[in-house]
């Protein structure tokens, strides 16, 4: 193994432990920034085996870390994490999980998966992965599903993250890489439109690039229904109704056309399909867009002028416009705006998606997506199937076809034609899936559930077998950050006895399923195979090695050969389409799947707070973070609070057609009076996803997390108590 792992014997030596030279350069376990950090081993006997230090030389964060990154080592504490396998005896769903040996646990998993396959066929075994898994894990999990389980039904929680941006990216540019340029380029452009993104809370270390942009004289436009901390930094804040970003983008394109701010030369030389996009924009004139979005015409005009007049410009989207039942079209409309203004395929300009999860980029490239094979290959493309099958040493015909998307997979659990047994790795859908109460019910309906995770998440609580997995500091592996930069997380300390890596889990399970070869435990060995499998694909890693990543601060894909420098900036000469031109999409606005009405008169939108991450499985186990963000809340405007007769901190019941959530009021005038906001990091009574709408985007299959209709009432204290009790039962 060629990692720079720390020798634990030395690490426990106090003299050595204090030496910064003994620290390991690695990356944060949380979001897609994958901030550089160093881990220094601490003397044995303390609560945490390592401490987190700055790593000022990594260009994405230049040493800066947010509270989550700084406190990441707390999740390595024994009390916070799992340290031994747990099983629930067959037929004893109501009994608690009990400790078990690894052999017993893996035997149980193999038996559970095999039983479902025998009774219902291979597609009755489902696999659900995560955007936090390393490239090696994501790759091997996809291979495990297709080769060892032979199931089509593998998908992952990244479907809930950036799948709409991915689909729109591919539609326009022929390739999907979150950012087509290094993040630091943001500081050197002239105007950025940040749509439905709140980096001040979601990725604070990224904020420096936006601050620098403004220090350099560049302009920042923020589009968000809330006046977030990010919006406070903006030159111009557009505050549309939730679910109307598509109309907003069309309205801005309309204004570029009307006011002569098109880059006609760029459109002629480097794009196709403008006439259709223009026709769609013509149906979205400013006064009409004002009515749809609630953004005044004058502000639309100011934004169009600011963006159109800038020499260079970028549009960056995040979950706001993407997590909608029209997310793909919405992102396409923003891409159209870039193309029409000639702000793409040039240095300092372009459209990008601020990917969310730690390995949200790499996790979507190497085969844990229902419709894809490694290298971002399509599972329905015969050439792609032949290539990957050859690397795997199997008959192409034996590879399954496309499977169900994440929500559809979860919705089908335990039903005819759906999965009866599920292997879940690095995800917590009980908290993070839309219509979460229903999803929880479906998970309970499984014949068998195995969960491999670092902590005992809400979903792991429901499992028949829980496998304790190693964490970022305890294992080596690559991730691909939001820039498409492939980076290396290095092992800094040994994991506690009783904990194994996900790769070891797959190795052990494959052997038990009668597929002894092809599932190595060593991450570098897996990566070498991934390189071959991705070679020639869109996300081509063929030229990337652990040594190169170490030497070059990461390598940007595509990197087709060892002598290839990697590709920090895409599309400078041509787009990745057959004719080299970017494609406009003819899209038009339509309402959200569920709009407010008399019964549910308000919009609910969901999002994040700075001190928690995703479903909170890790961060809710860190005291420092819980002190900063102790629980869910309902953000509402003072005018709405007055009408409801509630004050700050009073309990509110929020109801939708799918469920109910109870959380204290947080009154602020930064939100529209017709909209309430809830963060989604918590399970139990305050679970925001009890309310959200699983209406899916027709292309990306992304659920509509960002918009649904709710009713908000004062929660009587009695009913709140009932809610809490119900939550405890569920847990």
């Amino acid at each position: 193994m060629t990692t720079t792992g720390t020798d634990p014997a030395r690490a426990s030596d106090p003299a050595r432990a204090g030496d910064p030279a003994r620290s390991t350069a690695t990356h944060c376990p949380y979001c897609a920034l994958q901030c550089g950090m160093r881990l220094r081993p601490l003397p044995a006997g303390g609560p945490e085996p390592v401490e987190v230090l700055e790593r000022p030389d990594f260009p994405v964060n230049l040493g800066a870390l947010c509270g989550k990154g700084r406190s990441a080592a707390a999740v390595l504490r024994r009390g916070a994490r799992l340290t031994e396998p747990l099983v629930r005896d067959a037929g004893a769903r109501d009994k608690p999980l009990r400790p078990a040996s690894w052999d017993e646990a893996l035997d149980r998993v193999a038996a559970g998966l095999t039983a479902a396959r025998r009774q219902y066929g291979p597609d009755a075994v489902g696999v659900f992965g995560g955007g936090g898994l390393t490239n090696e894990k994501a790759y091997l999990l996809g291979k495990f599903a297709r080769v060892a389980l032979r199931t089509a039904n593998i998908d992952y929680n990244g479907r809930f993250c950036m799948s709409s941006a991915a689909a729109a990216h591919r539609r326009a540019f022929g390739i999907d890489r979150g950012l087509p340029f290094p993040l630091a380029d943001v500081a050197r452009t002239d105007c950025v439109i940040l749509v439905g993104s709140n980096p001040a809370e979601t990725m604070p270390p990224a904020l420096r690039h936006f601050r620098e942009l403004r220090e350099n004289g560049g302009r920042l436009i923020v589009v968000d229904p809330r006046r977030t901390r990010t919006a406070e930094l903006a030159d111009l804040h557009l505050q549309p109704l939730p679910g109307t970003d598509l109309a907003l983008a069309l309205g801005l394109l309309h204004l570029l056309i009307a006011d002569g701010r098109l880059d006609k030369d760029f459109i002629a030389r480097r794009t196709t399909g403008f006439a259709q996009a223009r026709a769609a924009a013509m149906a979205h004139w400013p006064e009409h867009v004002e009515r749809l979005t609630g953004v005044p015409v004058a502000r639309l005009a100011a934004a169009a002028a600011m963006f159109g007049d800038a020499a260079k410009g970028m549009v960056l989207t995040a979950r706001g416009p993407e997590q909608q039942s029209k997310g793909t079209d919405t992102v396409s409309a923003w891409i159209n705006l870039c193309l029409a203004a000639g702000k793409a395929g040039r240095p300092g300009s372009g459209y990008g998606c601020l990917t969310g999860q730690g390995n949200g980029q790499g996790g979507r490239e190497h085969g844990q997506k229902a419709d894809q094979l490694p290298g971002y290959r399509s599972i329905t493309d015969p050439a792609a199937r032949a290539h990957v099958a050859a690397v795997w040493g199997v008959d192409p015909a034996a590879l399954p076809g496309p499977g169900r998307s994440a929500y559809e997979l979860l919705d089908g659990l335990g039903r005819d034609g759906g999965a009866r047994a599920l292997l879940l790795m690095g995800s917590n859908p009980v908290v993070s899936a839309p219509r979460a109460a229903h999803v929880t019910e479906r998970i309970r309906a499984l014949d068998f559930l195995a969960v491999s995770d670092v902590v005992l998440s809400e979903t792991a609580h429901l499992a028949d077998v829980v496998l304790p997995a190693t964490q970022w500091a305890e294992e080596t592996g690559t991730t691909t950050n939001l820039e498409g930069r492939v980076i290396l997380r290095r092992k800094a300390v040994d994991a506690p006895e009783g904990v194994r890596s996900d790769l070891a889990v797959l190795h052990g399970l494959a052997a038990r399923l009668g597929v002894p070869g092809g599932f190595p435990e060593d991450p570098e060995e897996v990566f070498e195979e991934l390189r071959r499998a991705s070679a020639g694909g869109q996300a081509d890693y063929a030229g990337i090695s652990y040594d190169r990543i170490r030497d070059e601060d990461g390598v940007f894909w595509p990197c087709p050969g060892e002598d290839h420098p990697g590709t920090p900036r895409l599309f400078l000469d041509r787009f990745a389409t057959p004719d080299g031109r970017a494609r406009f999409a003819a899209v038009s606005h339509r309402p959200a799947a569920e709009e407010p009405d008399g019964d549910y008169p308000l919009f609910l939108t969901t999002g994040r707070v700075v001190s928690q991450y995703q479903s909170g499985a890790q961060t809710r186990r860190v005291d420092e973070l819980n002190r900063a963000a102790p629980g869910p809340f309902v953000e509402l405007h003072p005018a709405l609070a007055r009408r409801l007769g509630v004050g700050e901190g009073e309990l509110l019941a929020v109801s939708s057609r799918r469920g109910r959530a109870v959380a204290p009021a947080r009154v602020t005038d930064t939100i529209r009076p017709d909209t309430v906001f809830m963060p989604f990091h918590w399970g139990g009574a305050g679970r925001a996803n009890s309310l959200t709408n699983p209406a899916l985007d027709p292309v990306s299959r992304m659920p509509e997390f960002k918009v649904c209709a709710v009713r908000v009432e004062r929660a009587a204290s009695a009913s709140a108590a009932t809610e809490t009790a119900a939550t405890e039962t569920e847990r």
Binding site: P225, Q239, L241, I257, A258, D259, A275, Q276, R278, A279, A280, M282, A283, W285, P286, E287, H288, E290, R291, T293, G294, V295, P296, V297, A298, R299, A586, S588, R590, P601, H637, A639, L640, R642, R643, R672, P673, D674
Partner: protein, 434 residues
């Protein structure tokens, strides 16, 4: 056999219906029969096209409607006027005599300009004489733009939204314009006297002289033009080089306005002749119920339709209707009904802008009306005028002139008849998002 839906008309309502029907997965062969020679376009933008902000060809709003598209998409037949309708036999007769069968019929025939009773305005056949223009279609717009390029002075008859927009557009082209309006102040349907006066001053600054309380009596002819020329010049007439046939407009007070270009902007009337002849129910418009139906298998939407006694005549209402009908006929929501719209006027004419809605014009209940609160903010120096009428916590009307940004926040509450939750004065100064 595939179900056939015939849409008579290819304007904004028709195009919207076809688009939504397709998006909702409707299974039928939809054909639009348009009398105009072009694909559907955005009529709302014609006045801005007159200023040159848009090229008229750029207004096309749905290129998917094409003769060449594969099945599943709507077909468009341009230059294809429908001259007869048999709702019992379910057939249409086209101008060339062709009989076309259909299963369901959607009338989206729109509206046509009303020509005021002014001597000399019309030539033989009742159409505007040379030099007199209307502004309803893309062809009208091209013709008017061509004529304006060579005109010296223009008179616009009618001071409603269209007249104000047209006058401002002609002035923006550098033409001296006089606007003649019968009522005591501009756009009296939307505005009260104070707002109308601010609008008048705004127009004056742009080079438009406004004569309110003034009635045009006669259009006087000047130099004759070649035979065959009409007030609807074909596109090839652009740029026009023909001499004008108009010399002046005489008002009721015998004042004579020198003008070689006249625009008649005196409103529109639903185009109902086809429906009337076919025996469908017609009052002002084709009478439809909440299902937008006027007879078995026959529907009407847009400017030609009269619903619960109202002909809305706005693009927003036409699209609301098209959406409901598309939801019904596609099967996506077979029980969808249309309960009316609360449309509002939102004018942007260069620097002139206002939003108006509800009981603000002649029906303004006035400050003394019991149960109605009237809030007014006027800033004559900066040309800003805001008025809000509230009944309890409901908005019943409003005018936001000069600085209509607050409209973005108010309109939604008005359209949905939702209670106002903030301090109403705050609403008037809001810049959206409240």
């Amino acid at each position: 056999m595939t179900r056939r839906i015939a849409v008579v008309g290819a304007g904004m309502a028709a195009a919207r219906f076809a688009e939504r029907f397709r998006l909702l997965g409707g299974d039928a062969e939809v054909t639009l029969y348009g009398a105009e020679p072009c694909a559907p376009y955005n009529r709302v933008l014609l006045a801005d096209a007159l200023t040159g902000r848009y090229a008229t060809d750029d207004l096309t709003s749905d290129l998917a409607l094409d003769l060449t598209l594969p099945s599943g998409d709507a077909r468009l037949r341009t230059d294809c006027a429908v001259t007869g309708l048999d709702t019992v036999a379910h057939t249409l007769r086209l101008a060339d005599g062709e009989q076309v069968p259909y299963d369901e019929l959607v009338l989206a025939t729109g509206a046509e300009p009303v020509l005021p009773p002014v001597d000399g305005l019309c030539g033989p056949g009742g159409r505007p004489r040379p030099g007199v223009h209307v502004l309803r279609t893309a062809a009208d717009c091209r013709g008017l733009a061509g004529a304006a390029a060579h005109a010296r002075r223009a008179v616009v008859i009618g001071g409603g939204v269209l007249g104000v927009s047209a006058a401002r557009a002609l002035a923006a082209r550098g033409l001296p314009v006089t606007l003649v309006h019968r009522a005591g102040h501009l756009v009296e349907r939307d505005l009260d006297g104070a707002a109308g006066e601010i609008l008048r001053r705004g127009l004056a600054e742009l080079g438009v002289e406004v004569r309110t309380g003034s009635v045009a009596r006669e259009v006087r002819a000047g130099t004759p033009v070649g035979a065959g020329r009409t007030g609807f010049p074909p596109p090839s007439a652009f740029p026009s080089t023909a001499p004008s046939a108009v010399a002046a407009v005489r008002l009721a007070d015998d004042h004579v306005l020198d003008a070689d270009l006249v625009v008649a902007a005196c409103g529109v009337a639903p185009r109902t002749a086809l429906a009337r002849t076919a025996g469908l129910p017609v009052r002002t418009g084709v009478v439809v119920d909440d299902r937008l139906s006027c007879a078995p298998d026959a529907y009407a939407i847009g400017d030609c339709a009269e619903h619960r006694g109202t002909v809305h005549g706005t693009a927003v209402a036409a699209w609301d209707q098209a959406d409901v009908l598309a939801a019904r006929l596609s099967g996506a929501a077979p029980d969808a009904v249309y309960r009316g719209s609360r449309p509002y006027t939102r004018l942007t004419a260069g620097p002139l802008a206002y939003a108006a809605f509800g009981e603000t014009g002649p029906e303004d209940p006035g400050p003394g009306t019991p149960g109605v609160d009237v809030l007014r903010l006027a800033d004559a120096t900066r040309g800003s005028y805001k008025k809000l009428l509230l009944r309890g916590d409901r908005i019943v009307g409003g005018i936001l002139l000069g600085d209509p940004a607050a409209a973005a926040a108010l309109i939604r509450a008005y359209e949905r008849d939702e209670p106002v939750v903030t301090d109403p004065l705050y609403l008037l100064t809001a810049q959206g998002a409240c």
